[in-house]
Subunit: 347 residues, 4 copies
């Protein structure tokens, strides 16, 4: 009963197999392997972006930090939500890669609104050389709270950034989960909505450890390559990153896995609702924040369920007090585990 | 006939298999997987260092940069040879991680001497607040030219650094190749010789992409963890790094693979010598720089042999001019390929 | 009628004279001048801190950035108010000097409260290696809104930081203005209240350009010296910084000048109140944010009064709409100018 | 008898007076003072560069670090001589400002040659993404050994950099000394010889602490302003930097002072030659490295002469052994002091 994260389950067997097939003979190192050529071609087709610059790194934080650094000067500030992974969960990695740029928090929710963004950007733009200068916008899709921006919402935000001459970054650690939930194309969710660079996640959705960084403006390519090398994120045996990504894309495995984890979440949410749980926000992808009585949490934890309490402490006397838990479903979660979990939760 | 590098061959089948066995069920992320516990235990035994702090990253440059940054203040300078990988081949990654520290080049060879080190360190120490302050010593073992420091040589260098209160880092991208050549223990080649932190390479010696960083002083552990995360080098699905490393260590695979690549080099060198090649330096591990006439190089390249010319250009009229090539043997290189190469070289 | 800032008026004649007296003959460079010895002695007496490490730099931003960098690791975050000069007005200089550390905003006012600080620090401390680690607290005294922390308030905040093992920095760009308003000693307002390092301002209070950085823990001295040099803030002809600071301290000039600017503000505030202005906060030092009708602002601006509108735009039809202006009095402001300003304001 | 440096003598009385005249009334802060307009105009005339972007900072290290950072990416390397101030005497400040870029040492002398520069640049350009990328060239004029590049020599070097698309920086801490020695125009020694940005020194040549940074390409202006602010080098009371520089330029004071210090050096050198001293290099500006017997040095030091021994130790038995001293003449050095020094040296 593992609901703690989607970074703890196994990789999909096809990804593991790809390591073996990619292992054949010699391959030029440092991204010059022949598998990478196929990856590049495939992602350009998926994104309908024949000129896009496509790179692979092994961690989502590397993808985000390197993508942002390529677009943000050290005296600028990145606009993001107050629960953005780049702000909360990367131990100042973006600031490190950007040479000391700031992150400016927009609004008070996981989903930024145009008004909040306009307010934040207006503030920075005001005081000439003294304040941090406006820099890129970074949107997380799906958000860290499991919600999804519509393509129109992304377009509305990116347009505000573009008005200040600033690009838009999409942190797509759960890109596939959002895409299948929206039912749109990768192009619609990105460059057609004003996105300039995407962190295209593989790791959380069934890979071993691989993320693509996709620049729709190929003029950024060489700088990114130098930044990746300087950040120590260029793999010598790059073929194994390529092999993962190729297997992930082949036969739309990436979409299938995302549909599966979203479906598991839908099943879990329905069950939780039935036993009276309320949700901080309606789940739209593979994550939910649900309120359950302390007694229920105790029962679940005692039975070995793994997940994080985000509001409230397990210890306490009031068995009816509602505590909020974060529940994430990864692609590999068996339905039987969800049923067992719900049975225990039902008491 | 691939002699260009030891980063282009396949991973050993046991490493690939380990990805599958490591893929079973849920594992806590971010280095808290149970496989890592075994890796830590095993490396502590191998290094006879029960207190050592042990971490994994995916690239050698990350291992070097993070290890050095943990020991080097931004106003200091690292002492290394003029052909050190950290100086020549990491695109300012050490400087990036160290916040703008310098690298001071010691002597004019791949192997630093005590006299050259003393001269370099004396220079920096002289001018109070104005000059870069002395920082760590970094030794590459085996060197970038395929040579090996004896344990006594390492001890002599580290003692000079220690006299200035500075630690010693060992870049062990080819640690195993050096160890089997010397026939000593891992402890003798490191902490018993005054080494404080090791980049313990796996990638070049048959892994997919994994390097251990081993601090003999566990007080550095927490700072390293924060630096690794901030550098975006902490894997969420860390289990796959652990699994590689465990398989690499089990049954002394790491030593077997190094013995194999060194043996291939010995076979190659003997053959080259027979056809009249001279060596810049006697090969001691799995690399040699050999002088051959232009005509021989042309024949080899025409036949598809892959390696780098480091001195001289292939194009040219004087067929007898000696050009220097770098030849590296990885563990997977078939003996038949060496024989074929030598046959072609013999003309 | 210059009320725009206290960084635009002349230096006090004694400071100017000191440049001439300091100009005599040769003086050892880089802080080894004999005048600096006197400055160090004098500040140690004033702060009742015979062991304090005392340094001079030329700008307040340098004082803040260097002081914070000495205490803050790149993976940490500094706690400050959302209007802190280090956050709003230094163009990412602290982040640059700290190697990419964050600033975490505490509460929503210029004066931090213990509750707000506790909430902010608790948040950061929560998520292990993933989030920014807790770092120093930075308090501005007087605040950027012209208010003053009591010594008890400072002590309450610094105690919370100390509980997390973190030091407290005081941005004292207007240190003297606060001190004379409180009527306490420099020791009471700093180390006796838990402050570890002070940016002791001279520039805004009648100097040409000099700020002292005072560490109560002398163990930080050498690191600060290296950071100052590396930041390019070590003056070769340091004697002229020393001469300014010595003249500033002699005969309590610094206190007299602060009393004078505070008194001017009191006079201005009383006059503004009489003509019906309301204040965002009661002025406690030499700055006030006052609400006046648009018509009044127009009259003042037309007459040449210089100050910033912080809320509202001068252009507009509603002559009675209240717009907020920021008014600062420096030591040199003639009383006659204030009277003239008030006459115009009265209409 | 102070020959240790040209950073320890008094400022010229005109510079001190300028502090008083610049002190009149209110002046807009942060470089918007009216004096700065005159400085800008004057320097544009002197350099025959009506579009040049002109800025002031207080230290030579700040001028160099900020100028280089504006032109050098963090993954590049700056080419300079092995005795360059930026390499030897700035405690990694350039690396700090450049975000971890390297400095590559060219040749083995204070004056770089085209051949040495070509060799160094060729080396870096070779290895694709792995090595530091070529960056700006930095020439010190006059050199740290007191020698001078002719305009043709500067042009020859800058042309090599330009061939690689790289700009040329001139560290002109002793710009005036070089200019009067060459008898050319400021334009001839800079942009007409291919120089893109100049650190134009005032401090060593009679000012209190002021250096101009002059970009001949005004497109660099805004980035430099942001870098200066972020580096904490933007003075609020900037008028006092402007006042110094204006006085320095008025009536060609800067040229007169340089002629005076050069003439003092010529007098010293002639005297030293007469008593048998040999010079490491013929002095061309206001500095010489002279070999004198240990006995002579002892006599001079005993009599209170201040200067640095750069080769050899004062202590020693062999009274005839030649030790090298560095002797610098600043503008204020009295001729009588030189005569006294020579008398003592003569024995």
């Amino acid at each position: 009963m593992f609901f703690a994260s989607d970074n703890a389950g196994p990789a999909h067997p096809s990804i593991i197999e790809a390591m073996a097939t990619g292992n054949d003979g010699y391959q030029m190192p440092y991204g010059n392997d022949t598998i990478m050529e196929k990856v590049r071609d495939r992602l350009r087709v998926i994104f309908e972006a024949p000129e896009a610059a496509v790179y692979l790194v092994a961690t989502g934080t590397a993808a985000n930090s390197l993508a942002l650094a390529t677009y943000c000067q050290p005296w600028q500030t990145v606009y993001c939500s107050p629960v953005a992974h780049i702000f909360e969960d990367e131990c100042n990695s973006p600031e490190f890669y950007m040479g000391g740029a700031k992150l400016t928090l927009v609004g008070d929710s996981d989903k930024m609104t145009p008004d909040a963004l306009r307010a934040a950007m207006g503030h920075e733009a005001r005081i000439a050389v003294h304040s941090a200068q406006p820099g890129p916008l970074s949107i997380t899709q799906a958000t860290e709270k499991g919600r999804i921006y519509t393509c129109d919402e992304i377009a509305a935000l990116s347009a505000i950034a573009a008005d200040l001459g600033q690009p838009t970054h999409l942190d797509g650690a759960r890109f596939a989960n959002a895409l299948v939930a929206l039912g749109c194309t990768a192009a619609e969710m990105t460059w057609k909505a004003g996105v300039d660079v995407v962190s295209f996640g593989g790791t959380k959705n069934g890979c071993i450890g691989v993320e693509a960084v996709i620049f729709f403006d190929p003029a950024k390519a060489w700088e990114f390559e130098l930044r990746r090398k300087r950040g120590a994120h260029l793999f010598s045996k790059h073929r194994y990153l390529s092999a993962q990504m190729l297997a992930y894309l082949e036969g739309d495995l990436w979409l299938d896995l995302a549909r599966q984890s979203n479906a598991r979440m839908a099943m879990l949410a329905e069950g939780l609702r039935k036993i009276g749980a309320s949700f901080v926000q309606e789940p739209q992808a593979n994550m939910v924040f649900a309120r359950l009585p302390r007694a229920t949490h105790k029962r679940l934890k005692d039975a070995g369920a793994l997940y994080y309490l985000t509001i409230g402490e397990l210890e306490g006397d009031d068995e009816t007090e509602l505590l909020t838990g974060r529940f994430v479903c990864d692609w590999s979660l068996p339905e039987a585990e969800i049923r067992r979990f719900l049975d225990i939760a039902a008491g």
